[in-house]
Amino acid sequence: MKNGNDTTTGRDYWRSLEEYSQTPEFAAAVKREFPNATPDMISENSRRDFLKVMGASLAFAGITGCKPAEGWPRWPEEKILPFTNRPEGRMPGNPVYYATAMELAGVGRGLLIKSFDGRPVKVEGNPLHPESQGTSDVLSQASILEMYDPDRMQSLMESQGSSGQYGRSWSEFSVAMEGRMARHRGGRGKGLAVLSEASSSPTLRRLRAQLQSELPESAWFEWEPIARDNERAGSRAAFGRPLRPQYRFDRAQVIASFDDDFLVSHPASVQYAFDFAEGRRMAPAGGGHGEQGGHGGDTRFNRLYAVEATLSPTGGMADHRLPVAPSEVESVLGELAAELLAAPGIDGSALGSVGARLGAFRQGNKHQAFVKQLAQDLLAHRGASLVVVGTRQPAAAHALAHAINAALGNVGHTVSFTEDPAGNDATHAVQIRELVERMKAGRVETLLILGGNPVFDAPADLDFGAALGQVDTSVHLTLYPNETTEAVRWRLPRTHYLESWGDARAWNGTVAIVQPLIRPLFDGRTPAEVVASVLQGGLPNGYDLVRETYQAAFGGPNGDGFEHTWKKALHDGVVADSALPAVNVAIDGGSLAAALGSFAPHEARAGADEIEVVLAQDACVFDGRFANNGWLQELPNTFTKLTWDNALLIGPRMAQEMGLADGDMVRLEAQGRSVEVPIWTTPGQAGKSGTLHLGYGRRVSGKVGTGVGFDAYPLRASENLHLAVAKISKAGGNYAFSATQDHFAIDEAGRKATQARLSSLIQEATLDEYLHGGHAEHGHHPPALPLWDPHEYNGHKWGLSIDLNACTGCNACVIACQSENNIPVVGKTEVSHGREMHWIRIDRYFRGDPDDPQVALQPVACQQCENAPCEQVCPVAATVHSHEGLNDMVYNRCIGTRYCANNCPYKVRRFNFFNFNGGMTAVEKMRPNPDVTMRARGVMEKCSFCVQRIQQVKIVAKNEKRPIADGEIRTACQQACPSQAIVFGDLNDPKSEVRRQEESDRTYALLDAELHTKPRLKYMKRLRNPAAGLTATHEGHGAAGDDAHHG
């Protein structure tokens, strides 16, 4: 096998394993010259039918059409319905922004929602929120699609066993519950149980406390499939009380992540990604763009080590990554602890008796080179380093990491601790087991399920569904009908957060008031409203409930103080000074020793024919709740590029050993339960381990989500929610995936040509090379000459710059773009034909050993070339150059020749092969951004640099007779990007940030040297910061151990 070219400039990248090994599938894929022109479009029959239909439609053109205006031949009649009383300050045609928050798995995310004529159309981060700082993540960006989803639960239903379902109203529900509650009150709540999602809402907490004080015999349980219980237990072990770590990655010079994808999967990842990127901006000195070298400013640059089983965005960003089996991660942490303990000046006394036992890790040190180097680096950066452990790791690993951070003096600098709002609650697994036991024992007569989907996602060994059958009256409040809804008596529609009053706490504790952007589209209510209704009778209003919660805190019910504070909290989206204060902590030796009692070095847990299966949170559907969201289903995974599916991700070596190809079905069996899933070979997956994302294989979902992918929950048992050791065997058969990774590949000649250019496409250098100038040796090409007279740009000259140092591949830009620009969803089949419509694709390249590769990511959108090849071939001038350098795409002129897409060297143009936007229901029609034209069939589209935003700001600035400030125009991708890798601005403004970046010596353009396209989208090359002792990640860790197979 070929290995990476070790000279740091001639980086030898490849895009997919098929391409790497030249499989027949890849050859077949490139042989179809036009993979997206599949036969269903152009078969003989359909072509003839098409002509027939065309003839007919011409003939009928004169007599059909919309209802014409009376007496006038052409246009349909349209009505204008003004307000009867317009709210103050409202201007029809101008959007209004409201701050709110979305709660996911018990943590709130601060958001700012753009609303047009009373319809929320776009989710942004809230700039005043301490974690969001104006940016947002994939799930909150995509959440808006759910609000307008016609598959949502639309009305109350009561199921009466075999006799069917009956429509009900909320007042009927309330009356029915009052009857039941009268009985429960008699028994002080006996027989009443509530199962809630994890929630940080102070209002719901207040109602819960009220319920438990009024009805002390009632029980309240929480179940969240993706919970952070191990982390909470870890801090309790280390400090003697449950605390929540708050990291400051911007202050850390050396970061070691043990299976912690803090850049994308953490509830505060939006902030963490920004902080992490701050530590490696390598920003040119202020105003110093004329200087030689351009990096006279901030040369601070952190170093990231990652130890993980499956390639995560954090692992992709790492300077050194060590792939180990999931159960071994804690052993590597143990080795690190042992190494650190042996170092002079490290106080291990807090560890007590554990310290001596950790020595055992040192003897069996398999990952010596890696661990030694990491320890050395951490020791050299005491107080400026950070060891973080992922939530899938056991509590002992968390506790040990806290001890390490404390010993390194990091506590108070790079990590602080706050109270955990969940406090000393039992873990979710324990809580749901307790509930199931009560149900099985017949001790639950009335069960109120607030959100969630426990029948689908509760630990498989509990068999929640069967236990639910024992409950006399079960109630499920849910956004969507799901597996649980099918099994309960009362089915209540829940409001979407964009329709609700509520509140939520962010990771750092900041409280945000959730305010509705629109009246509930369907007849929904919030969990707090339902609990209050059950408690108090009647149908209390969410607004009053939330206000009541803050009465004391905001100063009295009727005082002016309350209204003022309340309005400010609503306006800002945050309750001032509500972040949890940092607490002083000290390692509690006793409880730490107890937690580490059985902590000992061990091998990977999988035996022969076994595999360790990581049951992971999915970046798109999360735990399954977003399964009916087409944007998320179609979003290509950062590394696998799979859409509309999950798969058992295994490493290439394991696939080869088992004789498995992509899509081959395997059977996984653990504790008597089994699933059959297809495999997908993923570079960087540790040997003898696999990753299976949760949340797919939904049996009851909407039109989009039902039956997509494979259900991993049967492997999930309550004693270990994150890892299953399963027997693996071939199941026979092959499953067809839709992955976007090899789309736009051309042919063998094209592949070679691409390969030859890769070093210029993905430019990078090590920090050393960069600082000492050994990096500028890309793209030796004779200078290109323009074929045409160059354009002149006298006014604005828009440009975009993407810093590859900061891009984590989180996909927030892709969804933000989809939401802003009304990009349609095309479905799995169309994706497999290469017809996905995303205007941004994130190219990812691997380098080196397929089992331990280096990764490079590169978001590619329209490059807005100054010498655009597309413009020169359009026969109808539907794509033309603007005076500001934009490559304007004029949909109403486009006749669909697709010449432009053919001639585009970057392959960023997307064609509407079908009327993907057609067939919207009345509710769905409210969602699209009214500032962007909906494209019909036969029209080409592509990134426009969010021209609608440019025009909007230009018009307003000129109305106010002022110049446009730098940073005033923000493209949707830029606004969403958590790490702020994207900068947009005017290149003619010498003081603009984008100009400064363009003049940086890290900046380069794709294919410019060769084709002279003069792109306006520039990249800043990625810098890696490998430790001197370990030259690059893929050859990083000693010859010993399980990865000694290079070459």
Partner: protein, 231 residues
């Protein structure tokens, strides 16, 4: 031998017949001629019809639910356009006024008028008056009122003498060519910003000279890029 010759001939005939028009064509020959001669004329006529201003709804005057007269309110009473169309300087829409604006006056003036019944009903019920859109651009065109009014393009330039209209009709063709005429030479229509709503304003000097001066002073360079209006 004769057989063979016969076969040869028939083969030959068959191969030749490919080049001979079939008999049934004779029957429709006049029709074909008509299409050949009439087709181009038809196409030209269709094109001409398509370009005709009334086809583009110039002069379109739908019947509104309330016979609101701009002639009375603007022409006779001298109300400023912005009394009702309040957002014209700040938003893309000039916006139809809310019912409350009508009722500001009509609670006292002609409170019983049957013509105003829909307005009173709307005010009482909160349901909007369903006005009919007169100037209806295609959905792929983004026009912004504020961008024009604040630059000194008078209302009258596009909407005509609204102060003389009993019911509003569409005065301009609002075709793309018509838009571009002005975007290429705005000096023909520019006026001092304080007079944008004055219906009968006349330049005290040559319009072109004034327009050029205003262009210079206010830095008005309308773009003709596609993305200015199509996004």
């Amino acid at each position: 031998m004769p057989d063979r010759r016969c076969t040869e001939r028939s083969e030959k005939q068959e191969s030749m017949s490919r080049f001979i028009f079939p008999k049934w064509l004779d029957a429709i020959r006049p029709l074909l001629l008509l299409i050949l001669a009439g087709g181009p004329a038809y196409l030209i006529a269709m094109g001409y019809y398509g370009m005709w201003p009334s086809t583009r709804t110039k002069g379109y005057m739908p019947k509104q639910p309330v016979p609101y007269s701009h002639a009375i309110h603007v022409g006779k009473l001298g109300m400023d356009c912005r009394y009702c169309h309040t957002t014209v300087e700040k938003s893309s829409h000039a916006s139809i006024p809310p019912t409350a604006t009508c009722m500001n006056c009509h609670q006292a003036i002609r409170p019983e008028s049957p013509k105003l019944l829909p307005v009173r009903e709307s005010y009482a019920s909160g349901e909007a008056v369903e006005w009919l859109k007169v100037h209806n651009l295609p959905d792929f065109v983004y026009f912004n009122h504020s961008a024009h009014v604040t630059r000194g393009i008078g209302c009258v330039s596009c909407h005509g003498r609204v102060d003389k209209m009993e019911e509003v009709w569409q005065d301009a063709p609002i075709s793309m060519g018509w838009c571009l005429d002005c975007h290429r030479a705005p000096e023909k229509h520019l006026r001092p910003v304080e007079f944008v709503t004055t219906m009968d304003w006349a330049p005290g000097e040559d319009q072109i000279t004034l327009g050029k001066r205003l262009r210079e002073e206010n830095n008005i360079n309308p773009s003709t890029d596609c993305s200015t209006c199509h996004r």
